[in-house]
Symmetry: C2
Subunit: 191 residues, 2 copies
């Protein structure tokens, strides 16, 4: 079946450096990098999730610049990537939109750099996505998803393991690696 | 053997949107994202390569802020990542530094989004790196490495294949995916 993977980038509730629950600011480059990686791998929609109306307004302007404005005329590839971005107030709104697009409620899978709780492995999630999903992958900004966000999800993806215990990827890098592991064509690693 | 992978980010000669050869500006986030991904996967040194002294000066200031200044005190993990960044005027200088660190001249492997020439596949490069390398992976900024930069390299890595021919990853995302494919622990994809 066609993989039905969706992604959401959460700006609240996330942690700051001190471990406090905050709302983070929307970042132009997060939108671009994750939208481009998502488009490359066939992620169907990419939700920018924030309860703050002014932050959604900023995201709306960025997207419009590339999908309707001058940006898209200069760079049609960027337009194609950003056309898959959607805004949502809460994760539940993103999940509801996935359900209306996919015709079934998604499995919501949180991502975290910290090994914790019971996790689902990459191979298993890859199989589930290729069996038709739908799956909504959830990324946290700032210092990562707060516990209350993790609690709202059905499952937690295994952390990306580096080579000696250091794991401080940007959310942009983590999203790219996870899309590659779950969606890359089987024969892609070549000769 | 311990993998000996190095990376270089080239700011000249690269292409602009029109396919002209230019020097691009050093970008704060490129340094951070690629340094963090490199540190996570055990890339030994990450070279920021530009012939423009003022651009090297900018990069030097960014690195010093995190390795010697206030940034590193606030965020020791970031300090650890940026401590592996080196500046170089030309690719040959980076290769010479790799040779002095590794005790052997590296295989220089260019990366490109466009399928062209003869390429080396990910599995083969992974084996070579795990056999001890050394290998210097070369990334282009802007619209990618100019032909004259590709000509200087020993080999060209296969492009990252997406799912329907669209492949417009940021260099930050591409570097993260390539490090993961070449250096991730074998058993990492989990249950």
């Amino acid at each position: 079946m066609t993989p039905r993977l969706y992604a959401a980038l959460i700006h609240h509730p996330v942690l700051n450096r001190k471990g406090e629950v905050v709302a983070s600011a929307v970042t132009n480059l997060d939108l671009h990098d994750i939208a481009r990686a998502g488009r490359t791998y066939g992620v169907r929609r990419f939700y920018v999730v924030t309860p703050l109306e002014d932050q959604r307004q900023i995201a709306r302007r960025i997207i419009a610049h590339w999908t309707e404005g001058a940006g898209g005329r200069l760079n049609p590839m960027r337009k194609e990537a950003l056309a898959r971005v959607r805004l949502a107030e809460h994760l539940a709104d993103a999940a509801a939109d996935v359900e209306s697009d996919a015709g079934a409620a998604p499995l919501t899978v949180a991502t975290s750099a910290a090994p914790q709780r019971r996790t689902i492995g990459f191979s298993k999630l890859r199989r589930r996505v290729h069996d038709g999903g739908p799956v909504l992958l959830i990324f946290g900004t700032a210092w990562g998803l707060a516990d209350e966000a993790l609690d709202d999800c059905d499952a937690l993806l295994a952390p990306i393991a580096g080579n000696d215990g250091y794991n401080h990827l940007s959310v942009r890098s983590a999203a790219a690696i996870i899309f590659d592991r779950i969606l890359s064509p089987e024969d892609d690693s070549g000769n």
